[in-house]
Amino acid sequence: MHTETKDHAELATVFNKDEARVDWHDETLWWIRQKRDKAVNHLPEWELLRETASQIKDNVLSNLAGYLVQFESNAQKNGIIVHWAADAAEHNNIVLGLLHSKGITKMVKSKSMLTEECHLNEHLENNGIEVIDSDLGERIVQLAKEPPSHIVLPCIHKKKEEIGDLFHLHLGTPAGNADPQFLTETARQHLRETFLTRRAALTGVNFAVAETGEFVVCTNEGNADMGAHLADIHIASMGIEKIIPKRKNLGVFLRLLTRSATGQPITTYSSHFSKPREGTEIHIIIVDNGRSKQLGREDFRNSLKCIRCGACMNTCPVYRRSGGHSYHNAISGPIGAILAPNLDMEKYADLPFASTLCGSCSNVCPVKIDIHQQLYKWRQVIVQNGYAPAGKKAAMKLMSLTLSSPAAYHMGGKAGRFVMKYAPFAVNNKLNPWYKQRDMPEPPKESFGEWYAKNRKA
C-alpha cells in the first residue's frame, strides 16, 4: 500500500514490529486508565461535574467572541500585553519578534501542545534561538529529536534504558544507568541551571478566565512556575478555546482535569497568573489556527471543548496498540483524529479511520465530546470530498455492489468459504490486511441461507 502522505496504518505497522513493546505500551496506558477510574469512582457527583463542564463549554463556544474581548480587556487592565495570531506562522513570528526586541537568544519553555501544533521550536531554532523544553518528558523527546507521542505523557513510548542512553549521550550520565530516580535528579540539576539563566519563558495556558483576565497553568513538576518566575518576560500561548467565563468555573475544570488525565485529585501546581511581577512583562498570544473554522462545522465544533486531559488516548484500543507517533500529528489519539482533519483534510484523511468506533473515548471524556460519533462523521466527509485512499474506495464500491445484489452476495459467500477451505494461502498472506496479527476465522460449512433452505420443512 502506498500513499503520498503519512498513513496511520503504515506507521502502526512499524510500531507493531516489536510485539513485547506494544504489550508494554498497551498495559502502561491501561494502568493509567484504571487509575482514572479509581479517582472518578470516589466522586458520586462525577456525572454532574461532566455535564456541568460540558454546558459551560457550550456556553463558551456560543459566546466565544464576547468572552475573548472581555478577557483581553481585563488582562490589559491587569498589565498583561495581549497579541492575536491568525495562524501558526503569525504566532511564531510574534514570539520571535518579542525575543528579538529584548535581545534574547535563549528561551525555556514548559509544556504547550499549541506550540507543538505551530512547530515553534523549529522556527525559533532556524532563526538562531535556542529553546529548551523543561517538562521532563518533553526534554527527553527533545533530546531524542522526536515529537511528543502523548499530550500528557510525552515520552510514554520510551523505555527507561533508551532514556538512560540519551542522558549518557547529552548530559554525561554513566553509561547503562537507567534508574528513573537518578535520571530525574540529573534533569533537575541540568534544568535548574537553565531556569536560572533564561530571561524568557514560554508556557501554555490551561484556562483563561474572561471575568478576571487571569490565566491558569497546571504542572506536576513546577517547571512552568520555575521558568516564569525567574524570567524577565513570560510569553503564554493559548488557543481561542481555552477561555472560560468565570473564575468559579475553574472549580469544575480543575476537579475534572487530572482525575481524567492520571487519576490524581489535582496537579501539584495550579498557578493563576493575573499581573506581571514588578519590572517584568507577561505577554499572551491568542491563537486561532483553524479553530474558528472548526467552530463553524456544526458536527465537529464540540471538539473545541477539549481540555487536553488525554483520557481518550489512554482508553483507546487503537492508540494503545499503535502508539502516538502513528497519528503523525501534534495531538494524537481519538481527539487528535477529529481535530487534525480540520487543519488539513487530505493530509489527515487516514486518522478518523484509525478507530474501532467502540465509544470508550466518549465515555471517559470529561467534557462529554461525542468523539466516536465525530470520527464516524469525518469518515463520511472525507470520502465525500474525495480524500479516501484508492484501495478503500475500490473496496467500498465492490462491497456496496455485493450487498445490493442477492446473487452477487450468495456467490461471494460461496467463493469465500471455498477459498478459505481449499486454498487458505490465497487469504492467509500479507496482501490481506486482516491477516496481520490475526488468523482468519474457520470457514463455516454453509451459509445461514443454505442451512435454512435445508431445514425449514423439517
Binding site: T52, N59, A65, L136, T184, M226, I266, T268, S292, G296
Partner: protein
C-alpha cells in the same frame, strides 16, 4: 483589517446560538475535613503534622536542618530559625534556599491543595525554588472541595495565586513516580489549631 478583527469576525460568523451558562450546584460533604485533608495529602506524597504553635514548628525545623542551611520565611514567629542576610530584589538570589516556610490562605480536603496568594510570598518563585517546603495552615481554614475554594477566593484581586498539592513530582520515565522534579522535594503542612499572629 487587523488580525484581531479578522479572528473575532470569523468567530462571530461561526459561533452557534447562545446557550445559558449553568449554575453550579454540586453537593459537598463538610464532615471530617482535617482527616480527609491529611489522608489525601499523605497519599500524594505530602506530610501533615498537627501542632500547637510555632514552638513545635521551630523544634521540627531544628531537627531537619543544620547551621549551613539557608532557611527563608517572612513569618515573624519563626525569626529565631530564619537565616540572616539581606533581602535581594532578585528572585534568583533564592536559589540556595534549603527550606522555605510560608503561610497558606486555606486548604482543600478533597485534593490536599493549599491556596497561596502573592502577598504571602517574598518572591513568587520561593515555594518552587526551595529544596523543601513547610506550609503553616490554620486547622480551621479547610474547605471540602474546589467549588467551596473558589467561593472563598471570591473576586479577590491578586497578582499571582497558586494551589500547591504536595511535593513536585514526575512519572515521565516509565511511569515511575519520582518526588522532586523541579520544585520542592518535600512538602510538610503544619496544621495549627490556635489563631496565629
Amino acid at each position: 483589517m487587523t488580525t484581531r478583527e479578522q479572528i473575532l469576525d470569523a468567530i462571530r460568523a461561526n459561533q452557534p446560538a447562545l446557550t445559558a451558562l449553568p449554575g453550579v450546584i454540586i453537593p459537598a460533604d463538610n464532615t471530617g475535613l482535617q482527616a480527609k485533608f491529611t489522608e489525601t495529602l499523605t497519599t500524594i506524597g505530602g506530610k501533615v503534622i498537627k501542632a500547637n504553635g510555632y514552638d513545635d514548628v521551630i523544634a521540627y525545623i531544628r531537627s531537619i536542618t543544620n547551621a549551613g542551611h539557608r532557611i527563608i520565611s517572612a513569618i515573624t514567629g519563626l525569626a529565631e530559625v530564619i537565616s540572616a542576610g539581606e533581602a535581594s530584589p532578585l528572585p534568583h538570589s533564592l536559589q540556595d534556599t534549603e527550606l522555605a516556610i510560608i503561610k497558606a490562605d486555606f486548604g482543600v480536603a478533597e485534593n490536599g491543595a493549599v491556596w497561596i496568594t502573592e502577598d504571602l510570598l517574598s518572591q513568587r518563585v520561593l515555594p518552587f525554588i526551595c529544596q523543601h517546603l513547610i506550609v503553616i495552615l490554620n486547622a480551621d481554614d479547610l474547605v471540602a472541595n474546589m467549588h467551596q475554594a473558589y467561593e472563598k477566593i471570591g473576586d479577590e484581586h491578586y497578582g499571582y495565586g497558586t494551589f500547591i498539592a504536595g511535593p513536585s513530582k514526575t512519572a515521565d520515565i516509565e511511569q515511575s513516580l519520582v518526588l522532586g522534579a523541579h520544585g520542592s522535594r518535600s512538602m510538610t503542612i503544619f496544621l495549627i489549631s490556635l489563631p496565629l499572629d
